[in-house]
């Protein structure tokens, strides 16, 4: 019985938990009679969808990264040529640099805001629900609509929305997306606006689970409000914070929609991300070999991040 209650790690212990016999030599007939066919039937949707739309494409992607194909004649094996071609593309370092910069900026903008916001909102008594709804509102908007809306805000004319606001303070007008230095931060600002709600809600939920005794103990010890935040709240949130950090990292490394819609990668490739480059290789230039090669490189990097992430979350959930 105990084995039945076990989680994923022991999921595969006895092959058929309901049958007492070990059944080492099975004929197809007994397999069917024991419900093997029915079991397979249950697995069919999973095997179909994962087989065709997850496992096969992954394998094919790896194969294609060492091939060149025009879809008319048979693909030719080209070894690591595709990888070399990607590395030799002058836009490649630019795209990597942009993506890294994007990630760093996204952390700078997007990381402290939800944390502080959630701490304040968690203190609310009557307005907590209202504040949560407000904080989450931008997340609900379809990303494309949000990006397009902000693109309108970033109108570079002096009469543009943001430039009008700047005008009230005697500043601007700024060129926003038309400024090579400003375009990327502008996109990050939009992405932060669109994404901060998720993190805020998760932090609020975590804050609600901090045991009250900890605060009480700190209060009895005479800790000020700020010290309570620093010594109780933050350490208690440590794990969630780290998880959110990694999630954000993995997410921002795959940024596509925002630059695709707002700038098309411009001006002068200053907002071209890795994913945008992959898109260009594959769907504009028809160079699927280069596209899969770059995808593979990015995927290996992200897989490493995911493994780190998973190991940590497992350890924490076990403790």
């Amino acid at each position: 019985m105990t084995s039945l209650l076990d989680g994923p790690t022991t999921a595969a212990t006895p092959p058929d938990a309901r049958s007492a016999s070990p059944a080492k030599r099975r004929s197809p007939v007994t397999w069917v009679r024991r419900g093997g066919l029915t079991t397979l039937l249950f697995f069919l949707p999973l095997l179909f969808s994962f087989g065709f739309f997850a496992w096969f494409p992954i394998v094919r992607g790896i194969v294609m990264s060492v091939q060149q194909t025009n879809f008319v004649t048979d693909p030719a094996f080209v070894g690591l040529d595709n990888f070399a071609a990607v590395l030799a593309d002058p836009v490649f370092p630019t795209a990597v640099g942009n993506t890294v910069l994007f990630t760093v900026l996204a952390l700078l903008f997007g990381f402290p805001v939800p944390l502080l916001l959630s701490v304040v909102v968690a203190e609310f008594r009557r307005m907590r629900g209202f504040a949560s709804v407000l904080a989450y509102l931008p997340v609900i908007i379809p990303p494309v609509a949000a990006v397009l809306l902000w693109k309108t805000f970033y109108d570079p004319r002096p009469d543009g929305l943001f430039n009008t606001v700047l005008g009230w303070f005697g500043a601007g007008p700024l060129a926003w997306l038309n400024d090579g230095g400003l375009a990327l931060p502008a996109i990050v600002l939009q992405a932060t606006w669109a994404g901060a709600g998720t993190a805020t809600i998760i932090y609020i939920a975590s804050l609600m689970t901090i045991r009250t005794e900890l605060y009480e103990a700190a209060e009895i010890d005479g800790a000020t409000v700020l010290r309570r935040f620093w010594h109780v709240t933050l350490p208690q949130l440590r794990n969630v914070i780290f998880v959110m950090l990694l999630l954000q990292l993995i997410g921002t490394f795959q940024i596509f929609t925002e630059p695709y819609i707002m700038t098309g990668g411009g001006p002068d490739n200053r907002t071209t991300s890795i994913l945008l480059l992959i898109y260009r290789y594959a769907f504009l230039n028809g160079d699927y070999g280069k596209a899969t090669a770059l995808s593979l490189m990015l995927a290996i990097f992200l897989a490493l991040l995911s493994i780190v992430y998973f190991r940590l979350t497992r350890r924490w959930s076990a403790s």
């Binding site: 916001l117 999630l247 993995i250």
Partner: protein, 329 residues
């Protein structure tokens, strides 16, 4: 959570949500939440709140934060509502003036009629509903197989599903696209059919793992008793497991519906026919081909629908979003 990524499979989100589902103790979480509500204290205690200075400061900070939230979160949407009913000229020359030339309801009707916005809205609904159904089908049957039936090959299948978590979707974007163009063994071309969006949506490791873990938490005696009573696999699945799994099915439904609604890159690739495109793909095209006021009206309608749904089902939305926070050690 998955929604941020434009790719069908998002590794980290899965793990976060799967862990958050906390399957072993279905009852524990509820208890914990109640405790929290009862205690209802955080950094500040009731004693602090009673103190004058702290009270003023917290009220002030609270008011500021709330005001900021209203301006930042709701502001853009309110502006969009205004612009959607203003003339192009007003929006361009005085973005903050309130209807200097009066209301222009025409924009909204133009967006619905001339731009055929209803068509895109219907496409979006189709995409979302189909994706949801397939996600649910794969996740429940797969989860049932992996958790309850557990044949010999379950371990391999489980490993395969788990592996897709760590292999980011990006590696398979291009080949997945080619697969959809020419489905191996069948030779079907799914391009410009909703199947191209629906079928891959089913291959979500997040959903399968979530459901599997939840099923793992159901006491085995229930299944044993039913088996002794002569229930077959289908009855176990349909009459016993599914009814018990309602909460997790809700979470999976919400996740897959929201993900499908927000998807951009994938439908952009596989639905090039404008008559099939969902909103997310149609909007950027409308931007370049429609008058600004009508385009903003279209944008407004596309925002209105999810916001209305959110305001109605805010508890469910916030809970499923916040549940990822339960990973806390």
């Amino acid at each position: 959570m998955t929604v941020k990524d434009s790719l069908p499979v998002s590794a980290p989100a899965t793990a976060a949500i799967a862990l958050a589902a906390d399957p072993q103790q279905p009852g524990r979480r509820r208890r914990r939440r109640r405790n929290v509500e009862e205690a209802d204290r955080s950094i500040l205690s009731s004693f602090d709140r009673g103190k004058g200075s702290i009270r003023v400061i917290t009220l002030l900070i609270g008011a500021l934060v709330l005001l900021g939230l209203i301006v930042v979160s709701a502001g853009p949407l309110l502006w969009l509502a205004k612009a959607a009913t203003s003339t192009t000229q007003d929006t361009l020359s005085q973005p903050f003036a309130l209807w200097p030339s009066g209301f222009t309801w025409q924009n909204l009707t133009d967006a619905l009629v001339r731009v055929q916005f209803g068509k895109y809205l219907a496409n979006t609904a189709w995409v979302a509903i189909g994706s949801w159904l397939f996600s649910l089908l794969v996740a429940t049957t797969g989860g049932f197989g992996l958790s309850v039936l557990r044949p010999r090959y379950a371990k391999a299948v489980y490993a395969g599903v788990l592996a897709t978590l760590f292999i980011p979707g990006i590696v398979s974007l291009v080949p997945l696209y080619l697969t959809v163009l020419d489905l191996p063994l069948f030779g079907w071309n799914l391009l410009n059919t909703f199947w191209a969006v629906w079928l891959p949506a089913g291959a979500s490791a997040v959903n399968v793992l979530l459901v599997k873990q939840y099923f793992d938490g159901i006491p085995r005696d229930i299944f044993e008793a039913a088996t002794i009573d002569g229930a077959g696999a289908f009855r176990l699945f349909w009459s016993i497991t599914l009814p018990l799994a309602r909460p997790i099915l809700g979470v999976v439904s919400l996740l897959s519906l929201v993900a499908a609604y927000k998807e951009f890159l994938w439908p952009l690739l596989v639905l090039p026919d404008p008559n099939l495109q969902p909103l997310s793909v149609a909007l950027p095209r409308l931007e370049a081909t429609t008058e600004l006021s009508v385009y903003l009206a279209a944008l407004f309608i596309s925002v209105l629908v999810p916001v209305a749904l959110f305001l109605v089902f805010q508890k469910q939305f916030l809970r499923s979003a916040g549940s990822a926070g339960a990973i806390k050690g």
